[in-house]
């Protein structure tokens, strides 16, 4: 964790960590503490008075069917985004790992969406699927006679934000899968080929198990992405609607606090999400520790 040889200085190290610590305390630790504290109170909308209520805010959330439904939707949303983007990325990485001459061209064409902001990704798909002008909605209508209108149909709206969120994440997963595939020794694959294992057999018996660390790492990262970073996609396009059908947990924190002005409940929701992130971060670090050891 530290050098054998160090410098000796009484005040310099404190000066060096001071800016980082100051920003952390003022903008991270203090607000997080405030969220914890506020979650235990009920405040009137004007901030004149507040009353200690213990865990009532949490109990209210537990008893609120809309919140529970939002919880279920968030899980659905997170799993769908993760499955779609990781599945596509894995297929693309396996394919890109197989071609030789055009590999770098394909890679260039596949990685740029990483740089697109989630909000912009949302707007692009919002346009493509718009019921009056969107080309995808038009194709669905022309070829399948399917009526697409995400302004009124909640499931369609949810599907739209899932696709937009997954679209943006494919390149990230692709890069990590490709790096994972390239670190698998060629000799293993060749040995299997000599034993007359076909490409499909080789993939499932050798490549896929050896990719497990990458897959697990990406699983956690993608779930965190879907739970938190997708706020912009939803806020820029559907605003949680129609009828709450796309208001995932992170959007609810915002809408309860800023639009509904119910600070206690919003803070309680923040605390629940913080616990969720802490849990996921711990899972991720435990896994990294183990991988370092083996």
């Amino acid at each position: 964790m530290q050098k054998r040889v160090v410098f000796r200085n009484r005040w310099l190290p404190y000066l060096l960590v001071a800016p980082q610590i100051a920003v952390t305390l003022v903008f991270f630790i203090w607000p997080a503490y405030r969220a914890l504290e506020t979650s235990l109170f009920i405040e009137d909308a004007f901030g004149f008075s507040r009353q200690f209520v213990g865990l009532d805010n949490f109990a209210a959330l537990w008893a609120n069917p809309a919140y529970l439904a939002s919880f279920g939707r968030t899980v659905m949303f997170g799993l769908s985004v993760t499955a779609i983007s990781m599945g596509m990325a894995l297929a693309l990485a396996v394919a890109a790992n197989r071609v030789i001459h055009t590999a770098s061209t394909y890679r260039t064409l596949l990685i740029w969406p990483y740089a697109v902001a989630p909000a912009i990704a949302g707007v692009l798909w919002f346009f493509m699927m718009n019921p009056t002008v969107g080309i995808v909605a038009y194709w669905l209508e022309q070829w399948f006679g399917y009526d697409w209108n995400h302004y009124v149909n909640g499931n369609q709206a949810l599907l739209m934000v899932i696709i937009a969120a997954a679209w943006k994440q494919v390149s990230y997963n692709f890069l990590f899968f490709l790096a994972g595939l390239q670190s698998i020794p060629k000799s293993l694959i060749e040995a299997a080929a000599i034993d007359r294992a076909g490409p499909v057999r080789r993939f499932w018996s050798i490549v896929f198990p050896l990719l497990a660390p990458t897959t697990f790492f990406l699983l956690v990262v993608n779930l965190v992405y879907a739970f938190f970073d997708t706020f912009a996609i939803i806020h820029a396009t559907t605003n949680g609607g129609p009828a709450d059908s796309t208001s995932i947990l992170i959007y609810r924190v915002f809408s309860t606090g800023f639009l509904g002005q119910d600070y206690g409940s919003s803070a309680a929701q923040s605390v629940i999400l913080m616990v969720l992130v802490v849990g996921m971060t711990i899972v991720q670090f435990r896994y990294i520790d183990r991988r370092v050891n083996y």
Binding site: V6, V23, F27, A117, Y172
Partner: protein, 281 residues
């Protein structure tokens, strides 16, 4: 490739071409839409080839903006996004370099406490502590200012860990040599450590620039002054405006908003991949 299988090769390219098409098609549609006149974009099917209004549309967007949504020129928004992205990435790199240096090269009371304090920030994304953070910024009088856009986002556990990890791989002999030559800690930092960290700094800069450029919720909350809108967040006002969406302008804005970060990624691909893979692990 272990053996030659034509069918599999065909399938491989088919998968890749489908993937490229899926990723590029939305941007193609946006590009096309942004070169047509608004009146051509009110009814399906939309044109799939460029129109002749491209120059007119983009000049108007950058210079004047759209009156229906406040008329903020996009040139202004792009500038704000640029300032914010540069401010956040430079700020994160500077304070992370400093604290990583302190953690690795000094022994001082409270070191572990500081280390854990920074570590905790990993678990507190802006989105989960929106209200109280907003409150702090409001009390400090930093609403509607560039410093309010930048400073609250510059703490970085990831960057600190990355630099710490890198410093630990630098041989101890360098410090010893520096001390024999009577170079103090600051001299050592400037003349030896910083030049050695150049590649890492560049790689991290790309990732952080994209992170800063793509910020959405934070600028949305703390800027009500239209002169401070960033482009990624400004597009939201156009999409959710009261009137009918002006698609040519919205798509033009989307294209302008993604050009700078996409160029950074494509121009510095090798560094970008290095930065991405290393900063996440």
């Amino acid at each position: 490739m272990v053996e030659n299988r034509p069918v599999l090769s065909f399938l491989t390219h088919a998968v890749l071409i489908f993937g490229v098409a899926f990723l590029c098609f939305p941007v193609w549609m946006a590009l096309v839409a942004s070169t047509h006149e608004g009146s051509e974009l009110t009814r399906a099917p939309l044109p799939v080839w460029f129109g002749d209004q491209g120059v007119v549309n983009y000049t108007r967007l950058i210079g004047e903006g759209i009156p229906a949504v406040g008329g903020v020129p996009l040139g202004r928004m792009l500038w704000n996004s640029f300032v914010m992205a540069i401010g956040i990435s430079v700020g994160k790199i500077v304070i992370s370099l400093m604290s990583a240096y302190a953690f690795v090269y000094f022994r001082f009371p409270g070191r572990m406490i500081f280390f854990w304090l920074i570590f905790i920030t990993l678990m507190l994304p802006v989105e989960v502590r929106i209200l109280p953070t907003y409150d702090v910024v409001a009390r400090l009088g930093m609403l509607n200012s560039h410093s309010g856009l930048i400073v609250p986002l510059i703490a970085s556990a990831t960057a600190t860990f990355l630099f710490r990890q890198f410093f630990l791989t630098i041989p101890d002999e360098l410090v010893e040599a520096a001390r024999i030559d009577r170079a103090g800690p600051i001299r050592f930092f400037w003349d030896i450590l910083l030049p050695l960290s150049k590649t890492n700094i560049a790689a991290l800069f790309i990732i952080l620039f994209i992170y800063g450029w793509n910020q959405y919720l934070w600028p949305f909350l703390i800027t009500t002054d239209t002169d401070l809108y960033t482009i990624v967040m400004g597009i939201q006002r156009m999409v959710n405006s009261e009137s009918r969406p002006i698609w040519d302008a919205i798509m033009g804005t989307a294209i302008l908003a993604m050009i700078p970060p996409v160029i950074v990624v494509l121009a510095m691909q090798r560094l970008f991949v290095k930065g991405l893979v290393e900063s996440e692990k």
